[in-house]
């Protein structure tokens, strides 16, 4: 009986602890640390994600913009959507981010700006596309590790991104074009020579990009049906399959790094299962390019094919980069993943011909 009472006490403790956790007012600093700091930096100075502590940024975006950005994210541009956070949690994060500025948040102004989108497209092409990409596709690369110089604080946002267009008001876009963002490469287009009407036309053009962005997002949904791994049966024995694979790796301009047993490091040396072999290889140029696009791709690295003999049957297995690309929410990376998928498929095919 005393044992049962102790267990009841433990249950009561956990229930109370959980209740307090669920109903306490959310702490913005803790939520920021949990959900945002890994990309945007502990102090909002950026990293994988953009620097949000920049005064010129905080002084020009409303709390509504920040809230909507947290909610909708940036589909295909790294930033995930935080749909499961409560309104109170989102507000707490926004308050924490706002605490980095000594100026009050700008009021949200939902006024619709009318302009000539066709004319705006011409101006965009001349003044904006060099940084913001063709049709608002955004700057290339992610984060400071490989993509940009340390002193460059930001990669140009994708203005056609459905998350951006859902979050930004016309007035916010207009003001950013008009005044620029101090501390970033975004300069005042008014100073650069555009008229107020020109700027309104560019706003109208950017707003017109909304539909194609949504269609792009829709087109990616088929990737969910991809299998997690590419698995191919070999008609050859284990040793012959491995030799064929080594040749295929060289033929595809990869460098074979090493050949290991799959159990390397898991069991004592010499006791590994000799019928489970992993070939590690790399194309350093391709690797560097991929890391420049997204430094988080470690789970792809290094390239490898596992060869296993079981019950007299030899099978080659590798990851399916197309399927894994879903984890990264990075459309730019998708192209490299498709390329990698083709390379893996060719290697496996060549090794088992």
């Amino acid at each position: 009986m005393p044992k049962l009472i102790r267990m009841k006490n433990i249950v009561v403790f956990f229930v109370l602890a959980f209740s307090v956790n669920a109903y306490a007012a959310p702490h913005g600093d803790e939520l920021y640390a949990t959900y945002c700091s890994s990309c945007h930096g502990v102090d909002g100075k950026g990293g994988v994600g953009v620097p949000i502590a920049l005064p010129s940024f905080l002084n020009s975006v409303s709390d509504t913009y920040l809230s909507k950005t947290i909610r909708s994210g940036r589909p295909g541009r790294i930033m995930p959507s935080f749909e499961t956070l409560s309104d109170a949690q989102v507000s707490a994060i926004v308050s924490h981010v706002r605490s980095w500025s000594d100026k009050p948040a700008p009021e949200e102004n939902s006024m619709v700006i009318k302009g000539d989108a066709e004319h705006g497209a011409q101006i965009y092409e001349k003044f904006c596309s060099q940084c913001h990409g063709d049709k608002g596709s955004g700057g290339k690369g992610t984060g400071v590790t490989f993509s940009r110089k340390r002193e460059l604080p930001i990669i140009a946002p994708a203005l056609s991104n459905v998350g951006f267009l859902m979050s930004a008001s016309d007035v916010m876009i207009r003001d950013t074009i008009t005044f620029g963002r101090e501390g970033t490469p975004m300069t005042s287009m008014l100073v650069a020579g555009l008229s107020e009407k020109d700027i309104d036309d560019v706003v109208a053009y950017i707003r017109s990009l909304e539909k194609p962005a949504a269609e792009l997002q829709k087109s990616l949904n088929g990737v969910h049906d991809e299998p997690f791994a590419i698995i191919v049966d070999s008609p050859y024995g284990l040793d012959e399959t491995i030799e064929n694979l080594k040749q295929a790796i060289t033929d595809q301009n990869f460098t074979l790094i090493r050949t290991d047993y799959l159990e390397h490091g898991l069991v004592d040396e010499g006791k590994e299962n000799k019928k489970q072999v992993v070939l590690h290889f790399c194309n350093f140029g391709f690797l560097f390019e991929a890391l420049t696009i997204d430094p988080r791709i470690g789970m792809f690295l290094p390239c490898r094919v596992t060869v296993i003999e079981k019950d007299g049957k030899v099978q080659l297995t590798t990851i399916n980069p197309k399927r894994l690309s879903l984890l990264f929410n990075n459309h730019e990376l998708d192209e490299s993943c498709n390329e990698m998928y083709e390379l893996y498929s060719t290697l496996l095919e060549d090794a088992t011909l």
């Binding site: 267990m7 433990i10 249950v11 956990f14 602890a17 959980f18 956790n21 640390a33 949990t34 959900y35 700091s37 890994s38 990309c39 930096g41 502990v42 990293g47 994988v48 995930p80 984060g143 400071v144 590790t145 490989f146 340390r150 299998p227 997690f228 791994a229 698995i231 790094i257 799959l262 159990e263 390397h264 490091g265 898991l266 069991v267 299962n273 489970q276 350093f284 140029g285 690797l287 560097f288 890391l291 430094p295 988080r296 791709i297 470690g298 789970m299 690295l301 290094p302 490898r304 596992t306 296993i308 079981k310 099978q315 297995t317 590798t318 990851i319 894994l324 879903l326 984890l327 990264f328």
Partner: protein
Amino acid sequence: MRMLRQFLLFTFLTCSSLSVLASDLLMVRTQQSFPEAMLALQTSVREHGYAVTRVQRIDIGLTGMGYKTDKYRIVFVGKPKEIQYLINKYPVLAAYMPPKISIFAEHDETVLVTANPKIYADMIDDDRDKILFKRWESDIYSVFDDIRNAE
């Protein structure tokens, strides 16, 4: 008694491990330098009962080929019996085992990234085995908590 244990486990998993984003990709940033973070990672991984099976030095390979890069390593981790069991039962997992944690420098800070082990559960059918990945998920949250709290 069994129900009590299950309830406690459920409550523990629900209340804890909230310090890292619950998505398919788990990330944590630490203000520790790369060497400190690497040491903290390996220490915590071992304290959680996992072996560090290999450390792949991506940056060394890149630098050797003339590419400029900051520190970037891949740490392979796992429990031998669990890995062996999974690979033998599920060929699809052979491409993913042992699990990896990427660790790279961002100036004087360090970022760690790994796939949420729950994605492996999506690759198999047996619900009894899926529980294993729930524990791995809980452990990686705990490891990442350790690294953040080690500052």
